[in-house]
Amino acid sequence: MERTRRNILKLFGITALGVGAKPVLNAFAQEQGHPAEPEVRRGEKALTAKQWAMVIDTRQFHSAHDLEPIIEACHLAHNVPAFENKDHEIKWIWETEYQHAFPNKTTRFLNESVEHRPFLVLCNHCENPPCCRVCPTKATFKRESDGIVLMDFHRCIGCRFCMVGCPYGSRSFNFRDPRPGIAEQNDQFPTRMKGVVEKCNFCAERLAVGELPYCVKASKGAIKFGDLYDPESEVRQLLKENYTIRRKQALGTEPAVYYIV
């Protein structure tokens, strides 16, 4: 072939066409005979929300006796051990007094009904959780999909920074193997091991199968659970109709557990 300008330009054109067609051919090649890949997905019944929140109507609780079944339901289901030594205590949800739950909202001569009322406290699943900021291994994290502050026990190194970071004392450390302290093991749920921190998980395992948390179920309607950012949700209705308070709100952690007093 003669080396004329015309022929060289033709050659360039054909080369450019070939180079351009290659990715297209590759794409076609992949389409065919492609083996099915295994897939992971969310269950069909799973409940979803932008930020799960809880409203506790404390007016419905009169004595520690009213809270017992709620605490029991949670601790039994999650294999939370009971130890007599207070230093080894593990708690996910527990009872306290008004002045301890709301130290900066208390007053002198508090009215008697509030002063003697039992308050349920648990992890607040803050929208701005300080525990997650301090965790060096990202073992505790705020789940983007539904705002639950969760623990990945596999990754927890037991440094306890999160326990210092949490202003609510919501976290407990396993100073000893928890298994001897578990009276009845629930074999559907794992236990923890010595050396990890644990806390309430807003029953993430139940939400995944379309059920509400154990405490909500055991509360006979005194605790409501729902999406904080859905204006139609039950919790939002309650927040609209009742005056509610949150624990240590001034710290800016934005707790997602609200109390009607």
């Binding site: 897939e39 969310r42 994290f141 596999h154 923890r192």
Partner: protein, 129 residues
């Protein structure tokens, strides 16, 4: 080179002692363990993925499961045949392989690995008999 015979004898003795573990254990390699399957596992014929894959890659599979359950709110696994499984070590794996001592431990001991799954996850085989 007057000490040649001593040096050579010394080297031979040294090599013999140094290689002691090799020649002492020669021909005595422990046989690979035979896995026992439960009736339920036999009936199912195939695990969540083909046997070959499971044998070699079950730890990677479990790692993917763990990550998706704990962090991504995804708890269902759909295998290449379209079957759906709940991604749970205690509730799915051990439901079929209810003989942890004969299934998991045997191989792990042989391979001298000690995974710490069971520090937290419950071995349900104890109650299943």
């Amino acid at each position: 080179m007057n000490d040649k015979k001593w040096i050579i004898a010394g080297i031979v003795v040294f090599v013999a002692i140094f290689a002691f573990p090799l020649w002492y254990n020669m021909g005595k390699a422990a046989p690979a363990p035979e896995l026992k399957l439960t009736e339920k596992a036999k009936a199912a014929k195939q695990c969540v993925m083909p046997t070959e894959y499971m044998r070699a890659e079950h730890m990677q599979l479990l790692d993917v499961w763990r990550h998706n359950v704990v962090r991504n709110t995804k708890r269902e696994f759909v295998n290449t045949e379209g079957k759906t499984f709940n991604m749970s070590l205690s509730n799915t794996c051990l439901d079929c392989h209810a003989n942890k001592a004969d299934f998991c431990d045997k191989c792990h001991n042989y391979a001298s690995v000690s995974p710490y799954c069971w520090d937290c996850h419950l071995d349900r085989s104890k109650e299943n008999g």
